[in-house]
Symmetry: C3
Subunit: 146 residues, 3 copies
């Protein structure tokens, strides 16, 4: 399908509290914003302006899937390791940056029919790598095609 396009630009910042380490679902927040704007079709760009949290698209149905992702990170990059040199803010300092590097800072997701074109089992998550709760921002930009 090809379409000679009139484009619109939408932007906002979604402020999201996290309860400390783990995956926090933001799928519905993003979908609600698309409906508010009435974006029929286009591209959704998400950017996380933080270095100790990241973005992940993963399984949205069974909580054990997410638990395994969290456990994997704890096992691969354990806080008890003693080789880290960047520990000014505690044992979750270097580990947070490493975990963020292995996941995503930006995501691009198609929009169709006023909805994210995710797979049936996909959800969008902020992966908080800090032990303590934080307020995280997600920069949301949408290029809409009309």
């Amino acid at each position: 399908m090809i379409k000679s396009a009139l484009m619109n630009w939408h932007k906002t910042t979604l402020e999201t509290p996290t309860r400390g380490k783990g995956l926090h679902d933001i799928t519905e927040t993003i979908r609600a914003q698309l409906r508010d704007w009435g974006v029929q079709e286009g591209m959704c760009f998400l950017f996380l302006p933080h270095t100790s949290a990241s973005l992940v698209v993963s399984e949205n149905w069974d909580p054990t899937a997410r638990a395994d992702l969290e456990t994997f990170m704890e096992r691969l990059i354990p806080e008890r390791d003693t080789w880290y040199t960047h520990d000014l803010e505690g044992p979750d300092d270097a580990t947070s940056h490493i975990r963020a590097m292995l996941t995503d800072t930006s995501l691009t997701i198609p929009v169709d029919d006023v909805n994210l074109s995710l797979g049936t089992w996909q959800g969008i998550y902020i992966f908080e790598h800090r032990s303590r709760p934080h307020r995280r921002n997600v920069l949301m930009r949408v290029l809409s095609v009309e």
Copy 2:
């Protein structure tokens, strides 16, 4: 180079069979679609709506490079590990989601001269993390600049 731009929007879904675990080259499929559309210049957005496969840009020349990527994943996230809790669909269930998390769900690649602006040695791959063959979809969106 700056260009006051007329934009067009192209979209399709590329259905691709995989033969089970490993890297499956989709570079030529994407290039053929760009030629079909006659997209001179712009941006190509790829999105994989699956949680147990992912997208990877990697070496396209020597098959041993890809074999090593596959071996690395088997070694880092082995199916024989016993700590996974998400195993409803078998030993490749949790491991698939973890491997997907460490690679990509979305890619953005420049288009110039009716071609992907990949490096000489770069190819685009679906990384299938499931043991059994699957049919995978790649959502392809192109913003063309005229």
Copy 3:
């Protein structure tokens, strides 16, 4: 905020020397290019056409944070391992492709007020995975909204 948009397209290739393995800051180079073009607002797309280097957004303040990212990669994917089969170009051959797979080839970053909308502590880096210095290209594309 919604805006009926006139779009412009900007493109260039930033050639960047690396001094061998490690993180090389390219944030200011990208910012300077945005100022040269006078891009008020839009989306910045970065793509690295190489298979043995990658792009990373990470901590820009404390050099120990970057040192830990580099050490982590050396520990997770050590050159002394003997299972790699892709070693035509030396012990940094397979390891480079694996390290690139775990990080990013493409990044999408919002632009606002003629600047990248990075977090306070975020910088953009080329992660060189080869031991020897290389000249690396970053394909920079900007969709500007006016």
